[in-house]
């Protein structure tokens, strides 16, 4: 049985995250750190301390916007953005109660839309997300205005060879 730290490192497959010496450059440059429950460098320390449930159940791993500022500036080349992706995958796999449920629902709606038509159809994707999240009315006015201006189109072209798209989902699904 490998430790939480070993598991995360194996999945990232790059520089071991314990190379971090907590200069906090990642946290200082992180655009969404102000909204996170744990700072990016704190997450590294928590993984080292084996705090699996707290890390996988945190808001931080979902609020990370994948802007890649942290990994670009890290003096030890720790791939923090990839670490966040890995932690998100692990959170879904282990079925913990995730810290940001709507973000997960958005990703599910987005990917299932691709699985259906090969390309995103904005109205059906948005309706799907709204129904899943229960957040029905925010952005109603904006959506309507974009629709009226022709920015959001009800019908959009789909991928013809859907067999190949479905195969990608099937073969990479866990």
């Amino acid at each position: 049985m490998s430790s939480f730290l070993e598991e995360v490192n194996n999945r990232i497959g790059g520089v071991p995250i314990q190379s971090c010496y907590h200069c906090r450059k990642c946290t200082a440059g992180c655009p969404v750190a102000f909204a996170m429950d744990y700072n990016p460098n704190t997450v590294i320390k928590m993984i080292q301390m084996g705090m699996r449930d707290k890390v996988l159940g945190s808001s931080t791993i979902w609020l990370c916007a994948s802007c890649e500022t942290c990994v670009t500036r890290c003096p030890n080349e720790v791939d923090i953005a990839r670490m966040m992706d890995t932690l998100r995958e692990m959170a879904i796999e282990t079925g913990v109660s995730v810290g940001e449920k709507n973000i997960v629902k958005f990703h599910e709606a987005f990917l299932s839309n691709i699985k259906m038509g090969g390309r995103i159809n904005e109205p059906t994707m948005l309706v799907h997300y709204k129904l899943k999240s229960g957040d029905l009315f925010s952005d109603m006015g904006l959506g309507l205005s974009m629709f009226m201006k022709g920015k959001i189109k009800p019908i959009s072209p789909r991928t013809k060879d859907m067999e190949s798209v479905r195969k990608i989902f099937k073969s990479t699904g866990k």
């Binding site: 655009p31 969404v32 102000f34 909204a35 609020l63 916007a65 994948s66 802007c67 890649e68 500022t69 990994v71 670009t72 953005a81 966040m84 992706d85 890995t86 998100r88 995958e89 879904i92 940001e100 709507n102 973000i103 997960v104 629902k105 958005f106 990703h107 987005f110 990917l111 691709i114 090969g118 390309r119 995103i120 948005l126 997300y129 999240s133 925010s138 952005d139 904006l142 205005s145 974009m146 201006k149 022709g150 920015k151 991928t159 013809k160 060879d161 190949s164 798209v165 195969k167 990608i168 989902f169 073969s171 990479t172 699904g173 866990k174």
Partner: protein
Amino acid sequence: MKAVSRALGIELQEVDDWSCCGASSAHMTNFKLSVALPARNIIAAQKDNNRDMMVPCAACFNRFKSAQYHLEGDDALKAEVEGIIGAKYDASVSVRNPIDIIYNYVGLEELGKTVTRKLDGLKPVSYYGCLLLRPPEVCQFDDYENPYMMDGIMSVLGANARNWSCKTDCCGGSLTLTNTQIVVHLVDKLMMMATEAGANCIVTACPICFANLDTRASEKGRLPAFYFTELIALALGLKGTEEWFKMHNVDPRPLLASLGLL
């Protein structure tokens, strides 16, 4: 993009039966999926011996470059993805974003020759956001902390590009629907910094940044945003630009009219 490409002699061919790259939703939840979805399109582009693939969306550009980076650095992953798609990945396609093509292939001198209406009085700040530049070893484009290519393009168009320190800051793109308040906070900061730099608009090369800047600023201050080819089209005197501007949420026409550019 199509109109400007035509005017600049860039011949475009749509990738045959393309599919979505999976965007943030794929790479945040399933690494292998996030490589295989773009790979399907890159492999489709190989068929016609295309050498350059123009990717006008920064998020797509990032996913395509990232897929190439992983396919070319991991033989086992490459073999697996080739098996899923049923075709070989041959690394022959160069994924490029339109700033790169216009700056390096067309060139500023040639671009300058096609300008018929200098954008006098327009004071944009160039905004790249995250995904065109980071991580630098994947994107291999421009200067990743202080990029300059878009400023160069704006200057040739006759606009007065303002200096500012937020060119590569994040607008919170992937959180725009789920955590809107965070995005409003980030966009407001960008608007404030742009105003402080003396700008009267923001120009970007990322459609997601554009959408965020155009829809998520609070009433504290809203500058019009442009996708950069809109301004090239305006300076080249191409037809139909006013129709595009009508579709913006923050209407740029009053600004452009006040400068005599419409």
